[in-house]
Protein backbone atom coordinates (compact mmCIF):
# COMPACT_ATOMS: atom_id res chain seq x y z
CA UNK A 1 0.00 0.00 0.00
CA UNK A 2 1.61 3.21 -1.23
CA UNK A 3 2.14 5.79 1.55
CA UNK A 4 -0.53 4.00 3.54
CA UNK A 5 -3.26 5.30 1.24
CA UNK A 6 -6.45 3.25 1.00
CA UNK A 7 -8.06 5.45 -1.61
CA UNK A 8 -6.24 7.43 -4.28
CA UNK A 9 -8.07 9.77 -6.61
CA UNK A 10 -6.12 11.02 -9.63
CA UNK A 11 -7.14 13.67 -12.19
CA UNK A 12 -10.82 12.98 -11.80
CA UNK A 13 -13.01 14.58 -14.47
CA UNK A 14 -16.77 14.21 -14.16
CA UNK A 15 -19.27 15.52 -16.67
CA UNK A 16 -23.04 15.27 -16.91
CA UNK A 17 -23.59 15.96 -20.58
CA UNK A 18 -21.66 19.16 -21.28
CA UNK A 19 -21.72 20.32 -17.67
CA UNK A 20 -18.43 19.74 -15.84
CA UNK A 21 -19.11 18.68 -12.24
CA UNK A 22 -15.62 17.81 -11.05
CA UNK A 23 -12.39 18.78 -12.78
CA UNK A 24 -8.88 17.63 -11.93
CA UNK A 25 -9.59 16.33 -8.45
CA UNK A 26 -6.60 14.67 -6.73
CA UNK A 27 -6.44 13.38 -3.18
CA UNK A 28 -5.69 10.36 -0.99
CA UNK A 29 -7.44 8.85 1.98
CA UNK A 30 -4.88 7.44 4.38
CA UNK A 31 -5.38 4.27 6.36
CA UNK A 32 -7.04 4.82 9.70
CA UNK A 33 -7.84 8.51 9.30
CA UNK A 34 -11.06 10.47 9.29
CA UNK A 35 -11.08 12.68 6.21
CA UNK A 36 -13.84 15.26 6.06
CA UNK A 37 -14.87 16.55 2.67
CA UNK A 38 -16.33 20.04 2.97
CA UNK A 39 -17.86 22.26 0.36
CA UNK A 40 -20.78 24.49 -0.41
CA UNK A 41 -24.10 22.90 -1.31
CA UNK A 42 -23.99 21.81 -4.93
CA UNK A 43 -20.20 21.78 -5.15
CA UNK A 44 -20.15 18.16 -6.20
CA UNK A 45 -19.46 16.50 -2.83
CA UNK A 46 -22.10 13.83 -3.15
CA UNK A 47 -21.17 13.27 -6.79
CA UNK A 48 -17.57 12.67 -5.74
CA UNK A 49 -18.76 10.18 -3.12
CA UNK A 50 -20.90 8.30 -5.65
CA UNK A 51 -17.81 7.93 -7.82
CA UNK A 52 -15.68 6.71 -4.92
CA UNK A 53 -18.10 3.84 -4.29
CA UNK A 54 -18.37 3.01 -7.99
CA UNK A 55 -22.00 3.95 -8.53
CA UNK A 56 -21.02 6.22 -11.38
CA UNK A 57 -18.12 6.23 -13.82
CA UNK A 58 -16.12 9.41 -14.41
CA UNK A 59 -15.26 10.86 -17.82
CA UNK A 60 -11.54 10.33 -17.13
CA UNK A 61 -9.08 9.91 -14.28
CA UNK A 62 -8.66 7.04 -11.89
CA UNK A 63 -9.98 6.06 -8.47
CA UNK A 64 -7.86 3.43 -6.76
CA UNK A 65 -9.44 1.72 -3.77
CA UNK A 66 -7.37 -0.97 -2.08
CA UNK A 67 -5.00 -1.13 -5.09
CA UNK A 68 -7.84 -1.66 -7.59
CA UNK A 69 -8.72 1.03 -10.12
CA UNK A 70 -12.50 0.93 -9.81
CA UNK A 71 -12.94 3.06 -12.93
CA UNK A 72 -11.47 0.42 -15.19
CA UNK A 73 -11.91 -2.86 -13.33
CA UNK A 74 -14.47 -5.57 -14.09
CA UNK A 75 -17.75 -5.86 -12.20
CA UNK A 76 -16.39 -8.84 -10.28
CA UNK A 77 -13.37 -6.85 -9.11
CA UNK A 78 -15.59 -3.90 -8.22
CA UNK A 79 -17.72 -6.19 -6.11
CA UNK A 80 -14.61 -7.52 -4.38
CA UNK A 81 -13.57 -3.95 -3.54
CA UNK A 82 -17.08 -3.21 -2.33
CA UNK A 83 -16.84 -6.00 0.21
CA UNK A 84 -14.28 -3.92 2.07
CA UNK A 85 -16.36 -0.74 2.16
CA UNK A 86 -19.47 0.38 3.97
CA UNK A 87 -21.68 3.25 2.88
CA UNK A 88 -24.16 5.28 4.86
CA UNK A 89 -26.30 7.30 2.50
CA UNK A 90 -27.58 10.81 3.08
CA UNK A 91 -31.17 9.70 3.64
CA UNK A 92 -30.10 6.52 5.49
CA UNK A 93 -31.79 4.34 2.81
CA UNK A 94 -32.81 1.57 5.20
CA UNK A 95 -34.90 -1.12 3.52
CA UNK A 96 -38.33 0.15 4.44
CA UNK A 97 -39.92 -3.28 4.22
CA UNK A 98 -37.70 -4.67 7.01
CA UNK A 99 -37.22 -3.94 10.69
CA UNK A 100 -34.03 -2.32 11.92
CA UNK A 101 -32.61 -5.69 13.02
CA UNK A 102 -33.42 -7.26 9.68
CA UNK A 103 -31.71 -4.35 7.96
CA UNK A 104 -28.52 -4.89 9.94
CA UNK A 105 -28.74 -8.66 9.51
CA UNK A 106 -29.28 -8.38 5.75
CA UNK A 107 -25.62 -8.08 4.65
CA UNK A 108 -24.69 -10.86 7.10
CA UNK A 109 -27.37 -13.19 5.74
CA UNK A 110 -26.50 -12.41 2.14
CA UNK A 111 -22.74 -12.36 2.38
CA UNK A 112 -21.67 -14.71 5.16
CA UNK A 113 -22.23 -18.30 6.20
CA UNK A 114 -22.59 -17.56 9.90
CA UNK A 115 -25.12 -19.45 11.97
CA UNK A 116 -28.37 -17.67 12.77
CA UNK A 117 -27.51 -17.36 16.46
CA UNK A 118 -24.15 -15.74 15.60
CA UNK A 119 -25.85 -13.32 13.26
CA UNK A 120 -28.29 -12.38 16.03
CA UNK A 121 -25.37 -11.66 18.32
CA UNK A 122 -23.56 -9.56 15.73
CA UNK A 123 -26.74 -7.59 15.07
CA UNK A 124 -27.20 -6.94 18.78
CA UNK A 125 -23.59 -5.81 19.05
CA UNK A 126 -23.81 -3.49 16.06
CA UNK A 127 -27.05 -1.99 17.33
CA UNK A 128 -25.52 -1.51 20.77
CA UNK A 129 -22.53 0.28 19.19
CA UNK A 130 -24.83 2.90 17.71
CA UNK A 131 -27.07 3.05 20.77
CA UNK A 132 -30.10 1.40 19.22
CA UNK A 133 -30.08 -1.87 21.15
CA UNK A 134 -33.76 -1.64 22.08
CA UNK A 135 -34.99 -0.46 18.71
CA UNK A 136 -34.26 -3.61 16.71
CA UNK A 137 -37.89 -4.53 16.24
CA UNK A 138 -38.87 -1.05 15.00
CA UNK A 139 -39.49 -0.36 11.34
CA UNK A 140 -37.57 2.52 9.70
CA UNK A 141 -40.74 4.63 9.52
CA UNK A 142 -40.97 4.54 13.33
CA UNK A 143 -37.48 6.02 13.84
CA UNK A 144 -36.38 9.65 14.00
CA UNK A 145 -33.83 11.13 11.59
CA UNK A 146 -30.86 10.67 13.90
CA UNK A 147 -31.83 7.09 14.73
CA UNK A 148 -32.15 6.31 11.03
CA UNK A 149 -28.62 7.58 10.39
CA UNK A 150 -27.27 5.50 13.27
CA UNK A 151 -29.13 2.43 12.07
CA UNK A 152 -27.65 2.99 8.62
CA UNK A 153 -24.18 3.06 10.19
CA UNK A 154 -24.92 -0.16 12.05
CA UNK A 155 -25.86 -1.79 8.74
CA UNK A 156 -22.86 -0.29 6.90
CA UNK A 157 -20.48 -1.61 9.55
CA UNK A 158 -22.13 -5.03 9.90
CA UNK A 159 -19.40 -6.73 7.89
CA UNK A 160 -16.60 -4.74 9.58
CA UNK A 161 -15.51 -2.83 6.48
CA UNK A 162 -12.08 -1.23 6.25
CA UNK A 163 -13.47 2.00 4.84
CA UNK A 164 -16.70 3.72 5.77
CA UNK A 165 -18.21 6.39 3.52
CA UNK A 166 -20.59 8.65 5.33
CA UNK A 167 -22.74 11.12 3.39
CA UNK A 168 -24.04 14.15 5.33
CA UNK A 169 -24.18 12.43 8.73
CA UNK A 170 -25.46 15.46 10.62
CA UNK A 171 -27.57 17.28 8.05
CA UNK A 172 -31.06 18.06 9.40
CA UNK A 173 -30.15 16.90 12.90
CA UNK A 174 -30.34 18.88 16.13
CA UNK A 175 -26.96 19.71 17.74
CA UNK A 176 -27.23 17.03 20.44
CA UNK A 177 -28.03 14.24 18.03
CA UNK A 178 -25.36 15.55 15.65
CA UNK A 179 -22.81 15.42 18.47
CA UNK A 180 -23.84 11.81 19.08
CA UNK A 181 -23.09 11.00 15.44
CA UNK A 182 -19.69 12.72 15.76
CA UNK A 183 -18.90 10.52 18.76
CA UNK A 184 -19.93 7.49 16.75
CA UNK A 185 -17.52 8.37 13.94
CA UNK A 186 -14.66 8.83 16.41
CA UNK A 187 -15.54 5.53 18.07
CA UNK A 188 -15.43 3.72 14.73
CA UNK A 189 -12.02 5.20 14.03
CA UNK A 190 -10.46 4.74 17.45
CA UNK A 191 -11.98 1.46 18.59
CA UNK A 192 -12.40 -0.32 15.27
CA UNK A 193 -9.50 1.27 13.31
CA UNK A 194 -11.82 2.13 10.46
CA UNK A 195 -10.91 4.59 7.75
CA UNK A 196 -13.75 7.07 7.42
CA UNK A 197 -14.64 9.59 4.74
CA UNK A 198 -17.30 12.04 5.88
CA UNK A 199 -19.01 14.34 3.40
CA UNK A 200 -20.61 17.32 5.10
CA UNK A 201 -21.07 21.07 5.20
CA UNK A 202 -21.30 21.23 8.99
CA UNK A 203 -18.18 23.11 10.08
CA UNK A 204 -18.40 22.42 13.77
CA UNK A 205 -18.84 18.71 13.36
CA UNK A 206 -16.05 18.62 10.76
CA UNK A 207 -13.51 20.08 13.17
CA UNK A 208 -14.66 17.70 15.91
CA UNK A 209 -13.99 14.54 13.98
CA UNK A 210 -11.48 15.26 11.23
CA UNK A 211 -7.84 14.25 11.07
CA UNK A 212 -7.67 16.05 7.76
CA UNK A 213 -10.10 18.25 5.87
CA UNK A 214 -10.58 18.75 2.15
CA UNK A 215 -12.45 21.61 0.51
CA UNK A 216 -14.37 21.32 -2.71
CA UNK A 217 -15.22 24.51 -4.56
CA UNK A 218 -16.25 25.21 -8.15
CA UNK A 219 -15.52 21.69 -9.40
CA UNK A 220 -12.04 21.61 -7.86
CA UNK A 221 -10.43 20.47 -4.66
CA UNK A 222 -9.06 23.82 -3.43
CA UNK A 223 -7.43 22.82 -0.16
CA UNK A 224 -6.56 19.69 1.79
CA UNK A 225 -4.66 19.47 5.01
CA UNK A 226 -4.61 18.59 8.67
CA UNK A 227 -7.07 20.19 11.04
CA UNK A 228 -4.50 22.72 12.30
CA UNK A 229 -3.21 23.57 8.84
CA UNK A 230 -6.74 24.22 7.61
CA UNK A 231 -7.66 26.22 10.69
CA UNK A 232 -4.74 28.56 9.95
CA UNK A 233 -5.13 28.48 6.20
CA UNK A 234 -4.53 31.71 4.30
CA UNK A 235 -6.61 30.72 1.28
CA UNK A 236 -9.24 33.47 0.98
CA UNK A 237 -12.08 31.13 0.07
CA UNK A 238 -11.27 28.67 2.86
CA UNK A 239 -11.14 31.60 5.27
CA UNK A 240 -14.50 32.83 4.00
CA UNK A 241 -15.97 29.35 4.48
CA UNK A 242 -14.51 28.94 7.97
CA UNK A 243 -15.45 32.45 9.07
CA UNK A 244 -18.92 32.05 7.58
CA UNK A 245 -18.77 35.21 5.49
CA UNK A 246 -21.52 35.41 2.87
CA UNK A 247 -20.69 36.01 -0.80
CA UNK A 248 -20.92 39.66 -1.84
CA UNK A 249 -24.51 40.45 -2.80
CA UNK A 250 -24.93 40.22 -6.51
CA UNK A 251 -26.13 43.26 -8.39
CA UNK A 252 -28.75 41.24 -10.25
CA UNK A 253 -31.58 42.58 -8.18
CA UNK A 254 -30.66 46.28 -8.59
CA UNK A 255 -30.04 45.70 -12.27
CA UNK A 256 -33.52 44.17 -12.73
CA UNK A 257 -35.19 47.03 -10.85
CA UNK A 258 -33.41 49.57 -13.04
CA UNK A 259 -34.50 47.78 -16.20
CA UNK A 260 -38.07 47.69 -14.94
CA UNK A 261 -37.98 51.40 -14.07
CA UNK A 262 -36.70 52.20 -17.56
CA UNK A 263 -39.45 50.18 -19.20
CA UNK A 264 -42.08 51.94 -17.15
CA UNK A 265 -40.47 55.30 -17.84
CA UNK A 266 -40.01 56.06 -14.17
CA UNK A 267 -37.06 58.19 -13.17
CA UNK A 268 -34.94 56.63 -10.54
CA UNK A 269 -31.86 57.62 -8.59
CA UNK A 270 -28.61 56.99 -10.40
CA UNK A 271 -26.80 53.71 -9.92
Amino acid sequence: MQNGSVVMVRDLLVKYGDRVILDGVNFDIRRGEVLVLLGASGSGKSTLLRHLIGLEKPESGSIIVNDVDIVRCSDAELNRVRQSIGVSFQNAALFSSMTVSQNVAFPLLERTRLADSTIDEVVQLKLAQVGLLHFGSFTPSQLSGGMLKRAAVARATALDPEILFFDEPSADLDPITAAGIDDLVLYLKNALQMTVLVVTHELHSAFQIADRLAFLKDRKLVAIGSRDAIAHSADPWVRQFLDRVPDRKSNDQTELLHQLAERLGVKCPKK
Partner: protein
Protein backbone atom coordinates in the same frame (compact mmCIF):
# COMPACT_ATOMS: atom_id res chain seq x y z
CA UNK B 1 -34.76 19.43 -49.96
CA UNK B 2 -37.51 19.74 -47.41
CA UNK B 3 -36.44 19.28 -43.81
CA UNK B 4 -39.65 17.68 -42.56
CA UNK B 5 -39.30 14.22 -44.21
CA UNK B 6 -35.69 13.99 -43.03
CA UNK B 7 -36.84 14.74 -39.53
CA UNK B 8 -39.58 12.15 -39.63
CA UNK B 9 -37.12 9.55 -40.87
CA UNK B 10 -34.67 10.34 -38.08
CA UNK B 11 -37.62 10.15 -35.70
CA UNK B 12 -38.49 6.66 -36.93
CA UNK B 13 -34.83 5.65 -36.64
CA UNK B 14 -34.54 6.98 -33.14
CA UNK B 15 -37.70 5.34 -31.84
CA UNK B 16 -36.84 1.98 -33.41
CA UNK B 17 -33.36 2.21 -31.91
CA UNK B 18 -34.83 2.87 -28.48
CA UNK B 19 -37.23 -0.03 -29.03
CA UNK B 20 -34.32 -2.34 -29.80
CA UNK B 21 -32.45 -0.97 -26.78
CA UNK B 22 -35.48 -1.66 -24.58
CA UNK B 23 -35.75 -5.25 -25.78
CA UNK B 24 -32.02 -5.65 -25.17
CA UNK B 25 -32.37 -4.37 -21.61
CA UNK B 26 -35.29 -6.76 -21.08
CA UNK B 27 -33.21 -9.67 -22.38
CA UNK B 28 -30.24 -8.81 -20.14
CA UNK B 29 -32.44 -8.52 -17.08
CA UNK B 30 -34.24 -11.76 -18.01
CA UNK B 31 -30.95 -13.61 -18.24
CA UNK B 32 -29.61 -12.20 -14.97
CA UNK B 33 -32.85 -13.00 -13.13
CA UNK B 34 -32.79 -16.56 -14.51
CA UNK B 35 -29.29 -16.96 -13.09
CA UNK B 36 -30.63 -15.55 -9.85
CA UNK B 37 -33.44 -18.11 -9.80
CA UNK B 38 -30.91 -20.91 -10.23
CA UNK B 39 -29.19 -19.62 -7.09
CA UNK B 40 -32.38 -19.65 -5.00
CA UNK B 41 -32.04 -22.62 -2.73
CA UNK B 42 -34.73 -23.41 -0.16
CA UNK B 43 -32.26 -25.56 1.77
CA UNK B 44 -29.52 -22.94 1.99
CA UNK B 45 -28.23 -21.78 5.34
CA UNK B 46 -30.11 -18.51 5.00
CA UNK B 47 -32.98 -19.06 2.55
CA UNK B 48 -33.63 -15.31 2.45
CA UNK B 49 -34.59 -15.15 -1.22
CA UNK B 50 -36.64 -18.33 -0.98
CA UNK B 51 -38.68 -16.74 1.81
CA UNK B 52 -38.95 -13.61 -0.28
CA UNK B 53 -40.24 -15.71 -3.19
CA UNK B 54 -42.83 -17.36 -0.95
CA UNK B 55 -43.99 -13.93 0.23
CA UNK B 56 -44.33 -12.86 -3.38
CA UNK B 57 -46.30 -16.02 -4.19
CA UNK B 58 -48.73 -15.12 -1.44
CA UNK B 59 -49.15 -11.51 -2.47
CA UNK B 60 -49.27 -12.04 -6.24
CA UNK B 61 -50.97 -15.44 -6.19
CA UNK B 62 -53.01 -16.40 -3.16
CA UNK B 63 -54.53 -12.97 -2.68
CA UNK B 64 -55.38 -12.75 -6.38
CA UNK B 65 -57.48 -15.93 -6.33
CA UNK B 66 -60.86 -14.23 -5.66
CA UNK B 67 -60.50 -11.57 -8.34
CA UNK B 68 -59.13 -14.02 -10.90
CA UNK B 69 -61.92 -16.52 -10.17
CA UNK B 70 -64.53 -13.81 -10.51
CA UNK B 71 -63.16 -12.47 -13.82
CA UNK B 72 -62.82 -16.05 -15.09
CA UNK B 73 -66.44 -16.72 -14.17
CA UNK B 74 -67.60 -13.56 -15.93
CA UNK B 75 -65.52 -14.40 -19.01
CA UNK B 76 -67.08 -17.86 -19.11
CA UNK B 77 -70.57 -16.38 -18.96
CA UNK B 78 -69.77 -13.84 -21.66
CA UNK B 79 -68.46 -16.57 -23.94
CA UNK B 80 -71.59 -18.62 -23.27
CA UNK B 81 -73.96 -15.73 -24.01
CA UNK B 82 -72.12 -14.62 -27.14
CA UNK B 83 -71.76 -18.14 -28.48
CA UNK B 84 -75.26 -19.09 -27.40
CA UNK B 85 -76.94 -16.25 -29.27
CA UNK B 86 -75.44 -17.50 -32.55
CA UNK B 87 -75.67 -21.23 -31.89
CA UNK B 88 -79.33 -20.86 -30.91
CA UNK B 89 -80.10 -19.82 -34.49
CA UNK B 90 -78.55 -23.04 -35.71
CA UNK B 91 -80.41 -25.05 -33.12
CA UNK B 92 -77.15 -26.27 -31.66
CA UNK B 93 -77.22 -24.55 -28.30
CA UNK B 94 -75.63 -27.56 -26.61
CA UNK B 95 -72.39 -26.80 -28.46
CA UNK B 96 -71.98 -23.89 -26.01
CA UNK B 97 -70.49 -26.42 -23.62
CA UNK B 98 -67.60 -27.19 -25.97
CA UNK B 99 -67.24 -23.57 -26.96
CA UNK B 100 -66.82 -22.43 -23.38
CA UNK B 101 -64.52 -25.28 -22.39
CA UNK B 102 -62.17 -24.79 -25.32
CA UNK B 103 -62.40 -21.00 -25.47
CA UNK B 104 -61.65 -20.60 -21.79
CA UNK B 105 -58.79 -23.06 -21.42
CA UNK B 106 -57.02 -22.13 -24.62
CA UNK B 107 -57.53 -18.44 -24.73
CA UNK B 108 -59.68 -16.48 -22.31
CA UNK B 109 -58.36 -18.05 -19.09
CA UNK B 110 -54.64 -17.37 -19.63
CA UNK B 111 -55.25 -13.95 -21.15
CA UNK B 112 -57.65 -12.68 -18.51
CA UNK B 113 -55.44 -13.97 -15.72
CA UNK B 114 -52.40 -12.27 -17.23
CA UNK B 115 -54.25 -8.98 -17.64
CA UNK B 116 -55.49 -9.09 -14.06
CA UNK B 117 -52.06 -9.95 -12.65
CA UNK B 118 -50.31 -7.33 -14.81
CA UNK B 119 -52.63 -4.71 -13.36
CA UNK B 120 -52.24 -5.96 -9.79
CA UNK B 121 -48.64 -7.10 -9.53
CA UNK B 122 -46.77 -5.73 -12.55
CA UNK B 123 -47.62 -2.22 -11.41
CA UNK B 124 -46.71 -3.11 -7.82
CA UNK B 125 -43.28 -4.39 -8.92
CA UNK B 126 -42.45 -1.20 -10.77
CA UNK B 127 -43.71 1.02 -7.95
CA UNK B 128 -41.74 -0.94 -5.34
CA UNK B 129 -38.48 -0.93 -7.28
CA UNK B 130 -38.97 2.65 -8.44
CA UNK B 131 -39.41 3.84 -4.86
CA UNK B 132 -36.28 1.89 -3.89
CA UNK B 133 -34.34 3.74 -6.59
CA UNK B 134 -35.49 7.08 -5.18
CA UNK B 135 -34.54 6.21 -1.59
CA UNK B 136 -31.08 4.90 -2.64
CA UNK B 137 -32.04 1.39 -1.48
CA UNK B 138 -30.95 0.03 -4.88
CA UNK B 139 -27.59 1.80 -4.46
CA UNK B 140 -27.26 0.25 -1.00
CA UNK B 141 -27.61 -3.20 -2.56
CA UNK B 142 -24.97 -2.33 -5.14
CA UNK B 143 -22.51 -1.08 -2.53
CA UNK B 144 -23.08 -4.33 -0.63
CA UNK B 145 -21.70 -6.03 -3.76
CA UNK B 146 -25.12 -7.54 -4.48
CA UNK B 147 -26.89 -7.57 -7.84
CA UNK B 148 -30.26 -5.81 -7.41
CA UNK B 149 -31.71 -7.97 -10.20
CA UNK B 150 -30.77 -11.17 -8.38
CA UNK B 151 -31.96 -9.90 -5.02
CA UNK B 152 -35.21 -8.25 -6.12
CA UNK B 153 -36.28 -9.60 -9.51
CA UNK B 154 -35.44 -13.29 -9.20
CA UNK B 155 -37.79 -14.06 -6.27
CA UNK B 156 -40.61 -12.18 -8.00
CA UNK B 157 -39.89 -14.01 -11.25
CA UNK B 158 -39.87 -17.42 -9.58
CA UNK B 159 -43.11 -16.57 -7.78
CA UNK B 160 -44.74 -15.45 -10.99
CA UNK B 161 -43.67 -18.58 -12.90
CA UNK B 162 -45.28 -20.72 -10.22
CA UNK B 163 -48.33 -18.62 -9.54
CA UNK B 164 -49.58 -17.51 -12.93
CA UNK B 165 -50.22 -21.04 -14.29
CA UNK B 166 -51.98 -21.85 -11.01
CA UNK B 167 -54.16 -18.76 -11.28
CA UNK B 168 -54.88 -19.68 -14.88
CA UNK B 169 -56.21 -23.05 -13.74
CA UNK B 170 -58.42 -21.20 -11.25
CA UNK B 171 -59.75 -18.94 -14.01
CA UNK B 172 -60.29 -21.98 -16.27
CA UNK B 173 -62.33 -23.76 -13.61
CA UNK B 174 -64.38 -20.67 -12.80
CA UNK B 175 -65.07 -20.06 -16.49
CA UNK B 176 -66.14 -23.62 -17.14
CA UNK B 177 -68.35 -23.48 -14.07
CA UNK B 178 -69.99 -20.34 -15.49
CA UNK B 179 -70.63 -22.23 -18.71
CA UNK B 180 -72.26 -24.98 -16.65
CA UNK B 181 -74.55 -22.49 -15.01
CA UNK B 182 -75.55 -21.16 -18.43
CA UNK B 183 -76.13 -24.66 -19.77
CA UNK B 184 -78.23 -25.58 -16.73
CA UNK B 185 -80.48 -22.53 -16.98
CA UNK B 186 -80.94 -22.63 -20.78
CA UNK B 187 -80.92 -26.27 -21.83
CA UNK B 188 -81.23 -27.85 -18.41
CA UNK B 189 -78.01 -29.84 -18.53
CA UNK B 190 -77.18 -31.28 -15.11
CA UNK B 191 -73.82 -30.40 -13.58
CA UNK B 192 -72.48 -33.93 -13.82
CA UNK B 193 -73.42 -34.29 -17.45
CA UNK B 194 -72.06 -30.84 -18.19
CA UNK B 195 -68.68 -31.54 -16.66
CA UNK B 196 -68.53 -34.81 -18.50
CA UNK B 197 -69.29 -33.10 -21.81
CA UNK B 198 -66.87 -30.28 -21.14
CA UNK B 199 -64.02 -32.65 -20.24
CA UNK B 200 -64.78 -34.78 -23.29
CA UNK B 201 -64.31 -31.81 -25.55
CA UNK B 202 -60.94 -30.90 -24.07
CA UNK B 203 -57.59 -32.31 -25.03
CA UNK B 204 -54.61 -32.10 -22.72
CA UNK B 205 -52.91 -29.91 -25.30
CA UNK B 206 -55.61 -27.24 -24.90
CA UNK B 207 -54.82 -26.95 -21.23
CA UNK B 208 -51.07 -27.28 -21.75
CA UNK B 209 -50.96 -24.57 -24.40
CA UNK B 210 -52.83 -22.29 -22.02
CA UNK B 211 -50.38 -23.02 -19.20
CA UNK B 212 -47.31 -22.57 -21.41
CA UNK B 213 -48.71 -19.24 -22.52
CA UNK B 214 -49.35 -18.17 -18.96
CA UNK B 215 -45.74 -18.88 -17.98
CA UNK B 216 -44.58 -16.69 -20.86
CA UNK B 217 -47.04 -13.97 -19.84
CA UNK B 218 -45.70 -14.16 -16.29
CA UNK B 219 -42.17 -13.68 -17.61
CA UNK B 220 -43.21 -10.63 -19.62
CA UNK B 221 -45.15 -9.06 -16.74
CA UNK B 222 -42.33 -9.51 -14.21
CA UNK B 223 -39.52 -8.38 -16.49
CA UNK B 224 -41.37 -5.33 -17.77
CA UNK B 225 -42.65 -4.31 -14.33
CA UNK B 226 -39.19 -4.56 -12.76
CA UNK B 227 -37.34 -2.95 -15.67
CA UNK B 228 -39.67 0.06 -15.59
CA UNK B 229 -38.99 0.35 -11.86
CA UNK B 230 -35.22 0.35 -12.38
CA UNK B 231 -35.63 3.06 -15.02
CA UNK B 232 -36.98 5.54 -12.48
CA UNK B 233 -34.50 8.42 -12.31
CA UNK B 234 -35.13 11.03 -9.67
CA UNK B 235 -38.71 12.08 -9.03
CA UNK B 236 -41.92 10.69 -7.60
CA UNK B 237 -43.48 11.50 -10.96
CA UNK B 238 -41.16 8.94 -12.54
CA UNK B 239 -42.63 6.26 -10.28
CA UNK B 240 -46.15 7.08 -11.45
CA UNK B 241 -45.01 7.06 -15.04
CA UNK B 242 -43.15 3.77 -14.51
CA UNK B 243 -46.24 1.99 -13.17
CA UNK B 244 -48.38 3.27 -16.02
CA UNK B 245 -45.81 2.32 -18.65
CA UNK B 246 -45.29 -1.07 -17.03
CA UNK B 247 -48.99 -1.91 -17.25
CA UNK B 248 -49.46 -0.57 -20.79
CA UNK B 249 -46.35 -2.31 -22.11
CA UNK B 250 -47.26 -5.58 -20.35
CA UNK B 251 -50.75 -5.53 -21.85
CA UNK B 252 -49.40 -4.90 -25.30
CA UNK B 253 -46.61 -7.48 -25.17
CA UNK B 254 -48.88 -10.08 -23.52
CA UNK B 255 -51.41 -9.74 -26.33
CA UNK B 256 -48.68 -9.74 -28.95
CA UNK B 257 -47.16 -12.90 -27.46
CA UNK B 258 -50.64 -14.43 -27.32
CA UNK B 259 -51.10 -13.76 -31.02
CA UNK B 260 -47.74 -15.33 -31.85
CA UNK B 261 -48.52 -18.40 -29.73
CA UNK B 262 -51.98 -18.85 -31.14
CA UNK B 263 -50.65 -18.60 -34.68
CA UNK B 264 -47.89 -21.06 -33.79
CA UNK B 265 -50.29 -23.60 -32.27
CA UNK B 266 -52.64 -23.15 -35.22
CA UNK B 267 -49.87 -24.15 -37.60
CA UNK B 268 -48.24 -26.87 -35.51
CA UNK B 269 -51.07 -28.64 -33.68
CA UNK B 270 -53.97 -29.33 -35.94
Amino acid sequence: MNAAPVESVTGIGRSSLSGVEYLGALAVQFWRSLRGIAAINPFALHPLRWKHAIDEMVSTGVSAVPVVALTGFCAGLILAFQGGSELRKLGALELVIQLVAIGITREAGPLITAITVAGRSGSAFSAEIGAMVLTDEINVLKTMALDPVEVLVSPKFLAMLVVLPCLTVVADMAGILAGGWFAFTTIGTGLQLYIHAALDSLYLRDIMSGLIKSAVFGTLITQIGCLEGFRVKRSAQDVGRATTTAVVKSYFLVILADLLFTAFFYVVWR
